[in-house]
């Protein structure tokens, strides 16, 4: 067993874990944060995307014990004080989800794209940067629209994009 202390959605968390525990298992099983999903075994689908120290990563391909001192943000930590994050709001407004299973990963990826590239995004960039997220329902049409609109809203909101993601 290995001890790990980290911050999850702004709260300090410590645990004594079997080193095999993947971050996604730690979130889902230990912390009962079930918004982070598992959709594949080959690190491709992106249903498990969370932010570690502000960067999008695959929680299915990260050992929880390797995150001592890190700060993790999951979909549950994106809304602040009951107010939806602009990207969450954009997915709802533009019907960027159907079954909802890939959605948490999509939204976390989308926020990461804005963090990296700023709030003005063209369709081509969005499509290329969603390379690591698979959706089977929407055909991506409305996801692309939602990401563009969410990016714009993030740019317009007073908080800097990166801060909004944390």
């Amino acid at each position: 067993m290995t001890t790990v202390s980290l911050t999850v959605n702004g709260k300090a968390v410590s645990a004594n874990l079997d080193p095999r525990t993947l971050l996604v298992q730690f979130l889902r099983e230990n912390l009962r944060l079930t918004g982070t999903h598992v959709g594949c075994d080959t690190s491709q689908c992106g249903a498990c995307i969370v932010h570690i120290d502000g960067k999008a990563v695959k929680a299915c391909t990260t050992l929880a014990v390797s995150l001592d001192g890190a700060s993790v943000t999951t979909i549950e930590g994106l809304a602040a004080n009951g107010t939806l994050h602009p990207m969450q709001e954009a997915f709802r407004e533009h019907h960027g989800l159907q079954c909802g299973f890939c959605t948490p990963g999509m939204i976390m990826s989308a926020v990461d794209i804005v963090n990296r590239r700023g709030s003005v995004l063209d369709e081509k960039t969005i499509r290329e940067d969603l390379d690591g997220n698979i959706c089977r329902c929407t055909g991506y049409h409305n996801i692309v629209k939602a990401v563009a609109a969410g990016a714009q809203a993030m740019g317009a909101s007073s908080a800097p994009a990166r801060q909004a993601a944390e």
Binding site: R20, R28, L33, T34, G35, T36, H37, V38, G39, C40, D41, T42, Q44, C45, A47, T74, I75, E76, L78, A79, L84, Q88, F91, R92, E93, H95, L97, Q98, C99, G100, F101, C102, T103, P104, I107, E123, K124, I126, R127, E128, L130, D131, N133, I134, C135, R136, C137, T138, G139, Y140, H141, N142, I143, V144
Partner: protein, 787 residues
């Protein structure tokens, strides 16, 4: 139109929980004391199970139980069923082998269930699985669809030539006559590639047993929990229906693959009683590839006859359909009654004849996948029509319009009575959207850049709703295909609607609420839609075949009629008027010709307090139920046009433009309907360009992960131009036709027709991968140079 009623693009009520990570999927459910199941699966496509030695494994840490097919038999747990009986040409019933939940004596595909290990943790169950010694007597495998019939290796003794049925539909004599008289005959050999549905949420099940009540609960990823309960109770024999609750909570997509009743949920719910602990199983993606029912897999020869005027006179088809190693729940209906009745397409074809042979192979079971039979039919018809137009030197759009059915109702030679439609209107609108007039210039522009541009059409029709029950019963269905609804009005006028239509992405919680809100004149927030739990909803048939709107909402409509009728009675007492003088509109009961009104909420309260009427004359309360059985199938139809560009150097195909014009009848929520079209097109483009399940000669699935099975990603697709035309459906009160499958049905031939147009009429198989397109392009370029 109100802001939340029928026709409004209401934002989805269910979205809040999904965008905040609070969706509740089956794998999110954990029961106290829960144990974990792991299925030991066959690594061989075909083998006898000579011995399963579980002794060492059973003694391993955490192991609670290891069960084999014999344990199921000992408990009188029956096998999985196929719910649709197909009869052979000679009238004899189809030949089906047994389908045990855990293998008995033999395994028949890679991934077949050898035994299950239940342990404290999943890791312990997997450890134990590795300690189980299985003696397999490996047998040769039958894999290939086209050569399975009559192969030396036999999958099931019950079907000695591997043929499940030889079935036919249509008028053979008239068709042969028409072909003899034809001026021109177009011939095609078509493989409809095998697909893996791959909803993003893998299947999962949690079985629970309450010893005190002697009752089971199964949480499962199902599109139709009531059908699951019916099958698990009445056929498999887990428990009587009153002692088995099936809950399908949020479900992360289905596309058909979660209609069926599988081995895993059957075993989990049964094992919960064996180990006296809740038992959970969650599929990983590799297991999903191996054991979810696959889709399509047809090999077809098709011919189209035309006369001297270019009028289509006949169509004939021979199809071999691969049903895999066992008959899945609705497998037999897919290449038969969901396929051949659509072979007339949108065209007035006097004679149609289809022969379908269904075969067993040592591959995963094949069943309904988005569109189910109708994409296969549409591909046959729309490829034939496109090629015929080219062979006859006719414009493919004009050739289609020349042959469209123009008068309704129209009886086809293959069962269907099309009720309404305006196919030319959709075509004209699609041609406008795509700017068909400018295609020549766009082709020349592409050519200047060394690229090949092509345009492809698809005029599809589908039959949705899959009803009336009496009709499907006469065709072999084991169940009726109506839907139920119950409308519970609370004393303050808020409403709960219980429906048998499950929602797993379709947005029922919004669209169904729109109907209720609009009809009762109450705020949409006051309406809750409840589905997916057999303890709450009485009985329902579930969601598939684009039926939830046309059938499920019609049932709600009917129940609302009853609620309003009862409300009028209550209002008559309260307003001291004659019931016949009460009108209901905009949320108010009103006495005709007066200003005396009673709002819906007050009426509900009066119904429950029951002070104003005698309980003997009028029952208190306001709750009504209805069952709705449609009078006909519905017939959504439309035109999709795909324009694409091929880089002959790499073989990469980029879809540049997509016009989709669909007639879904009355649309409840255009935002949701367009979303369904987008998703369907993406799956169809996936079939045409990217996806294909491949087994090698030994029956190993070589595309068993996203590393090898190519899922459509955002940068594989364009944005889509979606338009609509409307002819209301006459066979249900709302005029709805259904929209869930249209995109997946329409799009594959549009893509392939566009590719072959770009390449100069070379045929190309699906998926048209860069390698295949490159090769075809090289041939075309050589041929064009030679010309």
């Amino acid at each position: 139109m109100s802001a939340t009623g029928i026709g409004a693009a209401v934002r989805r009520k269910e979205d809040h929980r999904f965008i905040t990570g609070q969706g509740r999927y089956t794998d999110d459910i954990n029961r106290p004391g829960q144990a974990h199941a792991y299925f030991l699966r066959s690594p061989h496509a075909h083998a006898t199970l000579d011995k399963i030695d579980t002794k060492a494994a059973a003694a391993m840490p955490g192991v609670l139980g290891i069960f084999t097919g014999d344990d199921l038999t000992a408990d009188k747990v029956g096998g999985l069923i196929c719910g649709w009986m197909i009869h052979n040409k000679d009238g004899s019933p189809m030949r089906a082998g047994p389908h045990p939940a855990l293998a008995q004596g033999k395994v028949r595909y890679v991934g077949d269930h050898v035994c299950v290990i239940v342990a404290e943790t999943l890791a312990q169950a997997r450890d134990a699985a590795e300690a189980i010694v299985v003696d397999y007597g490996v047998l040769p495998a039958v894999v290939d669809t086209a050569s399975a019939a009559g192969a030396k290796t036999v999958v099931h003794a019950e079907a000695p030539d591997n043929t499940v049925f030889n079935w036919h539909l249509g008028n053979k004599d008239a068709t042969e006559k028409a072909f003899k008289a034809a001026k021109h005959v177009t011939k095609l050999d078509i493989v409809n590639n095998r697909l893996v549905p791959n909803p993003m949420e893998p299947r999962a099940a949690v079985g629970d047993y309450d010893d005190g009540e002697g009752a089971f609960t199964l949480y499962t990823t199902s599109q139709n929990p009531h059908v699951a309960r019916l099958v698990l109770s009445a056929f498999i024999g887990i428990a009587p229906e009153n002692k088995l609750r099936v809950v399908a909570p949020d479900v992360g997509g289905g596309f058909g693959s979660k209609i069926f009743i599988y081995a895993e949920e059957t075993v989990c719910v049964w094992a919960a009683k064996k180990v006296r602990r809740p038992v959970k199983w969650t599929s990983d993606r590799t297991e999903a590839f191996l054991s979810d029912a696959h889709g399509r897999d047809h090999v077809t020869h098709a011919e189209l006859a035309t006369d001297a005027d270019g009028k289509i006179t006949a169509l004939r088809v021979h199809t071999t359909a691969n049903l895999g190693a066992y008959l899945s729940t609705f497998s037999s209906s897919v290449p038969t009654y969901l396929y051949a009745p659509l072979l007339s397409g949108q065209y007035d074809i006097p004679a149609v004849y289809a022969e379908v042979d269904a075969v067993y192979t040592n591959t995963a079971p094949v069943d309904a996948y988005r569109g189910a039979g109708r994409p296969e039919a549409t591909f046959v018809v729309e490829r034939l029509v496109e090629v015929a137009a080219r062979e006859l030197g006719k414009d493919p759009a004009k050739f289609r319009m020349q042959n469209y059915i123009k008068k309704f109702p129209h009886q086809t030679p293959v069962i269907m009575m099309y009720d309404t439609g305006n196919y030319a209107a959709s075509m004209k609108k699609a041609l406008e959207i795509i700017d068909y007039k400018g295609i020549g210039k766009r082709k020349r522009d592409s050519a200047r850049n060394g690229k090949l541009r092509g345009i492809g059409f698809s005029s599809y029709i589908e039959a949705c709703g899959i009803a009336p029950s009496a009709a499907v019963g006469s065709l072999g269905a084991g169940v009726g295909l109506w839907e139920s609804a119950e409308v519970r009005v609370n004393p303050v006028g808020t409403v709960e609607v219980l429906t048998g239509s499950h929602s797993h992405g379709q947005g029922h919680e919004t669209t169904f609420a729109q109907l209720v809100s609009g009809r009762l004149g109450i705020p949409i927030e006051n309406v809750s839609i409840i589905h997916g739990d057999t303890d709450k909803v009485q009985m329902g048939m579930g969601t598939y075949g684009s039926r939830s709107g046309a059938v499920g909402m019609s049932a709600i409509f009917k129940a609302l009629d009853k609620v309003i009728a009862k409300g009028k009675k209550v209002a008559a007492y309260v307003l001291e008027a004659d019931e016949a003088d009460i009108d209901f509109a905009d949320g108010h009961f009103k006495v005709k010709g007066t200003d005396r009104t009673l709002d819906f909420g007050s009426c509900a309260l009066q119904a429950y307090v029951a002070h104003k009427f005698n309980g003997q004359d009028l029952e208190p309360g306001l709750k009504e139920g209805a069952f709705y059985d449609p009078t006909n199938f519905t017939f959504p139809a439309g035109v999709h046009i795909c324009e694409l560009e091929i880089d002959p150097e790499t073989g990469i195909t980029r879809i540049e433009r997509w016009a989709a014009v669909d007639d879904f009848g009355i649309v409840i929520n255009p935002m949701i309907v367009e979303g369904q079209v987008h998703g369907g097109i993406a799956q169809g483009v996936g079939q045409a360009l990217l996806e294909g399940a491949r087994y090698n000669a030994d029956g190993q699935l070589v595309t068993a992960s996203f590393m090898d099975y190519c899922m459509p990603r955002a940068d594989d697709l364009p944005s889509f131009d979606v338009g609509m035309t409307v002819t209301p459906c006459p066979s249900n009160p709302l005029g709805i036709k259904g929209c869930g499958e249209a995109g997946a049905i329409a799009s594959p031939p549009a893509v392939i027709n566009a590719i072959t147009d770009a390449l100069g009429h070379e045929d190309i198989a699906m998926p048209a991968t860069p390698q295949a397109v490159w090769r075809a392009a090289q041939k075309s370029i050589k041929r064009m140079a030679a010309e």
